[in-house]
Symmetry: C2
Subunit: 416 residues, 2 copies
Amino acid sequence: MAIAGVIDRERSAARIERDIEHLATADYTLSSEAIRRYAYTPVYRNTLDYFARELERIGFAVSEDAVGTLVGRNRPSGEPAFGVGSHCDSNRNGGKYDGTMGVVTALEVCRLNVELGLGLPLQLISFLEEEGSGFGQMLLGSRIVAQRVTEEDLRERFRATDDGRSFWEHAEEAGYEPARWRECAAVLDGLTGWIELHIEQARVLQDTGNRIGIVDAIAGYVHADVFVYGRGDHAGATPMNLRLDPTLVLAETAVELERLARDAGRGTVGTIGEIEVDPGLINAISSRIRFSLDIRGPEDDVYREVAREIAAYVALTAERRGMRAEYTERQTLAATPMDDGIVSTLEQAAAGTGEPYRRMHSGAAHDTMCVADRVPTAMVFVPCKDGISHHPAEDADPADAALAAEIMLTAIASLR
Amino acid sequence: MAIAGVIDRERSAARIERDIEHLATADYTLSSEAIRRYAYTPVYRNTLDYFARELERIGFAVSEDAVGTLVGRNRPSGEPAFGVGSHCDSNRNGGKYDGTMGVVTALEVCRLNVELGLGLPLQLISFLEEEGSGFGQMLLGSRIVAQRVTEEDLRERFRATDDGRSFWEHAEEAGYEPARWRECAAVLDGLTGWIELHIEQARVLQDTGNRIGIVDAIAGYVHADVFVYGRGDHAGATPMNLRLDPTLVLAETAVELERLARDAGRGTVGTIGEIEVDPGLINAISSRIRFSLDIRGPEDDVYREVAREIAAYVALTAERRGMRAEYTERQTLAATPMDDGIVSTLEQAAAGTGEPYRRMHSGAAHDTMCVADRVPTAMVFVPCKDGISHHPAEDADPADAALAAEIMLTAIASLR
């Protein structure tokens, strides 16, 4: 089907831009300085209503699951359909594009399907609370759909950042039925596939001159803390050869982590983002240091080997210097491979447009990780300026999203 | 003069211990958990009174300068005398030995001079506010004596940690005449030499098995801050080759600083004690990092060359990684060489005791730095357990101080 030739990309870009700009106006954000939008606030309600109206306008039946994930379908529930969507909540100091551009582009896919008379069975999903701004829990809506939470989490453990009351209480107050949370799994029933568009949140596409990223995997990660115990001596009076300075274990570890991640290749990255020194005085050798490790990659074997090697390196380096180190993992999450068939179909569709694209993985987490449990999935990335995200300065080009809509629609049509 | 043979070291040690333990009782410290004693407090007044009584008991004339530095002499003012002493204030969470053991040992030197009928002309000084606990100004009393302050400092800039009122106001309230601060220079008039005993505050003597350190220089230092400006990207989504991670400049600099200080030798040390990362999140590459540099040594040329080399290294390393670094010096202070004649005389005296000693430099600053402006000086160190100082756990052996008193007295007698 020669969809590419008949789509008016400029009109798509204009509609995408109109939706995004509209959803950045006062009714849709709690802050005048940023997009601040999260579950069960009036501005979030307005946003869901906007999408519901737009979907109903093109003949979709719209509903919400037991906690507020929005679902729009052009086929009766239970019949097969192809899923598109993302999330429309933001982080608290957010921009206009993260998540929202994905739902808006999915909406454009649905519009084009009607306008071109393709008759493709489609289901749009806007997941709840991807950013965790409301309850400090990332991917919350998609984790509920994937049943990756417990009832105790929802009733007790997950509490609102604003007032400390439970997710459960807030959901009930907003008119939902959290007691029926297990039924949220039905959101994915009948999906034959899933494609989420998202801004890249990094600068790979920009720096390599590509307009489209076809995501073939979402990275898994190891988050860990390293504590090194030295001896807090006088910085002036303690000769170099009598020191137990834990700062040097940090230093050697940072250099080694960079080397290991580079050598591992295959998308592996390693970062030390948090450093705490005790006592932290100019004239005192540190007695203790803590630093974080964030090690990721699309291939579990590869980045986990880096984590193992750096843990061993830390222990050895501390010991060689007469100190003691502790490595403790905070959290690990396996990588999510995308579906080969959808990825290669998206690649063909992208190639057909003649626009520059690349296959890549996602270093950041996305709702698609939860969808992938049960549905063949893929993602499409568009560039965001200078990689800036989670910030009011976030910027992306609606023309790229229009191109992505065309590619997504072409792929879905081919996969039918 | 065969002083060594006739001194009863055990009796000296007992007297030193008695003085130190007495000055650790409730009348002499503001805290029951630590020694906390600083200028113009009642407990500091009590401490000066204790030394005044003990000095008067052995025929010394005792006075205080215009701000409260205590001076005891066994000759009329203006006649030549050899100086001994230290300070008897403490840091706020201090131990019994830092400073106080120096004054107590100087007092023991004066006592032995009488008991042995040596008739040496001696002057004991207990400097005010060495630790800076009262007004946040280290070496304050000796800097006033050395005229290394300005009247504006004393009237306005130096303010009490406790209530923010000026040093001037506090000094007047305590009955002193700060307006006559320039006359404090007379404290050093007529001094033919000066020896200060102090605990080492590090572990060189303990770890090398020596009871006495003969200090031949007090280290100078460079205190500096390094800022490195990177780019705060997403830790998961930013490939290793697209990063500007300032943490790696810190890491390479820490390793290089250790190498440079070790290679420089001659007592050079280099320390990174403060590290601040921004934003300091596990999943974010730092956008900016600040760290401190403390580079010291007894030879100005040597440690300053290390400071120059590390500043150049930081700039080059940042540039090589596509970042920008700033190196700014906070404070520099030149090294203070001790007087060769006094140092070698002390060495001969130490050798004569048959006890293990070593020549060394002081990495920490001391009042002697200010005395050295006008008077030939040296210092004697005694070990402190595990190098712990500025802490209630500070511990030193009165027997070592008694040995030091004997060595000091022998040297002063030889130098006459």
